[in-house]
């Protein structure tokens, strides 16, 4: 079978001693940073990205995927132990996970999260391996109009899935697209919006923006009401779920995995949506819905499985189409480009070892996660007792050095400061930074594909509706946007986000 030989190639690549080592280091570092309060996966990956620059592409990507899983698991750990989710997708875990911890079952909650994640990771990695090749085949037929419409679809989905005001989310996307245009115009070589600053000729660095908005901006936010944050770190004692627990988590893990895998493919924030959807499904079908929010183990198992499955399957559009479905994937694309690989359908045929190596390393990463975290859980819990006022100056130092080392220029550090400020202001104004980041990374690609489409069609804008694939995607995008305007859907969406807060 084809898929078997491909997976074998992947495991050969990722299973080499060196790759295993990088994967392990990645998982370890990712968890280490991710467990620090207030640092989500985006900031963690942005911070650790420079550490992978010196590695060969395969090792770098393997290490980065390791960092991603580690960071995500780290976020769940903080959610469970101190009720401080590092990112939106573990907000749901905090509801019942923290309640379990208060009931003295922190260890079981952490183990459940790890087991659920591992199972979901295994299933969705297989799914990824099965779905990617046919999708890449389809993607090879994509021309510029199809790509353009696909990006329109991705961006409209991210509006639908963003928190709060739709209009502001839409504004953030356009703002991001505009920022993406800064730099040298590839067609005319004109330097656009650079203010004559040579460092801007290559455009604004993606890592700089991510680090500023998600790292520095978050620190300023955390300084807001420092004093009234009581840190109660639960003692982690017994890890092993009881027989009764096992019986209760099997169903939620299975359902969470299926839901998460399906929703993760959607562009624009799969992991968050999956964990929320999985939680509400469990709450609906449970015979004990009143236990939810008070430490129901199902409320940890389902969202954690869903969120990990979603995280995994969100690699599908990234690897096959070169389109990021969330900020983390955008960072991954940034990393690929830095290593000289243009993500897209061609990667699979031109660099099969890299492609299948990444897929195999996902499973290995999940395996290490469970291997590393269950024994080390005591250490992670210790890290949580470090007070924030000691922690954040260190985070600032690492962000600054990380950004500086991207191009060895102070300019990037100043830019990070500006985006930190912007990130904070946007957070205050309840404008989501994630759609902006998505727009930022898609901006140049959209412009390029729009240009090419119109050149091919001799300036006829109807080219986007003449291709059936492109037309379908535009219609779906339109429907998604219209749906949000429907009063009934609007209400569900608002309820969804309210429950989470």
């Amino acid at each position: 079978m084809d898929i078997l030989s491909n997976l074998l190639l992947g495991f050969q690549t990722a299973g080499s001693f060196l790759s295993l080592g990088y994967c392990l280091i990645g998982v370890f570092l990712g968890t280490l940073i991710g467990v620090l309060p207030g640092l989500g996966p985006v900031a963690t990956i942005a911070m650790l990205l420079p550490a992978t620059f010196g590695l060969p592409p395969v090792s770098a990507l393997i290490m980065l995927s390791g960092i991603y899983y580690g960071a995500q698991y780290g976020g769940s750990t903080t959610a469970i132990l101190i009720n401080l989710p590092g990112e939106s997708s573990s907000v749901i875990t905090a509801l019942d996970g923290y309640a379990m911890a208060r009931n003295g079952r922190a260890g079981v909650a952490l183990a459940t999260a790890a087991i659920g994640s591992f199972f979901a990771g295994t299933v969705s990695t297989l799914l990824l391996a099965l779905a990617a090749p046919p999708l890449a085949q389809v993607a090879l037929k994509f021309g510029p109009p199809e790509y353009f419409s696909l990006m329109v679809l991705g961006l409209s989905a991210s509006v639908v899935l963003a928190h709060g005001s739709l209009l502001r989310a839409f504004g953030m996307i356009v703002f991001g697209l505009l920022l993406g245009v800064v730099g040298t115009d590839p067609n005319s070589a004109v330097q656009r919006f650079t203010f004559g600053i040579p460092e801007l000729a290559d455009g604004i660095g993606f890592v700089t923006v991510a680090m500023g908005m998600f790292g520095v901006g978050e620190i300023i936010r955390n300084l807001e009401n420092e004093s009234d944050r009581a840190v109660f770190v639960s003692k982690v004692t017994n890890l092993m779920p009881t027989r009764e627990d096992w019986r209760r988590i099997v169903g939620p893990i299975l359902r969470g995995t299926i839901l998460g895998s399906a929703l993760g493919i959607l562009p624009g924030g799969g992991a968050m949506l999956s964990s929320f959807a999985a939680y509400s499904v469990e709450k609906k079908i449970s015979r004990r819905p009143s236990e939810f929010g008070k430490g129901a183990i199902e409320g940890v198992a389902a969202p954690e499985s869903a969120n990990n499955a979603g995280a995994q399957t969100s690699f599908i559009p990234m690897l096959t189409l070169g389109i990021p479905s969330n900020p983390v994937m955008a960072l991954m694309i940034g990393a690929l480009i830095i290593h000289g690989i243009q993500p897209g359908p061609a990667v699979m045929s031109q660099q099969p070892a890299l492609f299948w190596g990444i897929i195999a390393s996902m499973w290995i990463g999940n395996f290490f996660l469970i291997l590393l975290n269950l024994p080390l859980v005591g250490m992670w819990a210790k890290m949580l007792t470090i007070p924030y006022h000691i922690l954040f100056p260190g985070i600032m130092v690492f962000c600054a050095i990380g950004v500086f080392s991207l191009n060895n220029t102070s300019f990037d550090v100043y830019l990070m400061a500006v985006f930190g400020l912007l990130g904070y202001v946007f957070a205050k104004l309840k404008c989501e930074p994630a759609p902006m980041l998505l727009g930022f990374i898609l901006g140049p690609m959209m412009e390029e594909n729009l240009r090419r489409s119109l050149t091919l069609s001799r300036g006829d804008p109807l080219v986007f509706v003449k291709s059936p694939i492109s037309l379908t995607m535009l219609i779906i995008a339109l429907l998604a946007l219209l749906m949000v305007l429907l009063p009934s859907f609007r209400k569900t969406r608002e309820d969804a986000f309210v429950e989470e807060d």
């Binding site: 656009r192 807001e224 420092e226 600054a400 050095i401 080392s405 930190g420 104004l429």
Partner: protein
């Protein structure tokens, strides 16, 4: 009827979007617009700026119509010190070297915390700068001087 801002988040983000759109439009007037068939460098940004201006204007208008909660206070001290710390790091890293730059960003940003204590801050600065010098300069070979151009010339 008196107009009053009923939704400050909308009001300020609307203004912000309008401001950004105007800056981009203003700068883009220097670049060639082109035609849809042969788009110039300003085509895409101008179209986007017009869309952003429209969104900004709508948001601004909506802020007078739809109620929303007031914004809570800005963490001005944190905002100022964290930004200042990063800028100091950028200024100092090549001129004064990593030891002084790391100490500066550590102390300045740590000062933003209500729990700041000088003794603790100084210890933190010393430990962090030693750690960074060892790991980043000697270990990973990031080209940052231990002592910068101020001391070596």
């Amino acid at each position: 009827m008196r107009l009053s801002i009923r939704n400050p988040a909308d009001f300020w983000s609307g203004l912000l979007f309008l401001a950004v759109a105007s800056v981009f439009l203003w700068i883009a007037r220097n670049y060639d617009f082109g035609t849809p068939l042969r788009m110039g460098p300003s085509f895409f940004p101008v179209v986007l700026s017009v869309v952003l201006a429209g969104i900004g204007l709508t948001t601004l208008l909506r802020s007078f119509a739809v109620d929303d909660a007031r914004l809570d206070g800005f963490a001005l001290k944190g905002l100022a010190l964290v930004t200042l710390g990063s800028i100091l790091f950028g200024v100092l890293i090549e001129r004064a070297g990593i030891i002084i730059a790391v100490s500066a960003i550590t102390l300045v940003s740590a000062y933003a915390s209500v729990k700041f204590a000088w003794k603790q801050g100084l210890i933190m600065a010393a430990l962090l700068s030693a750690f960074c010098a060892l790991v980043f300069v000697y270990g990973l070979g990031v080209p940052m001087p231990i002592l910068g151009s101020w001391f070596t010339d």
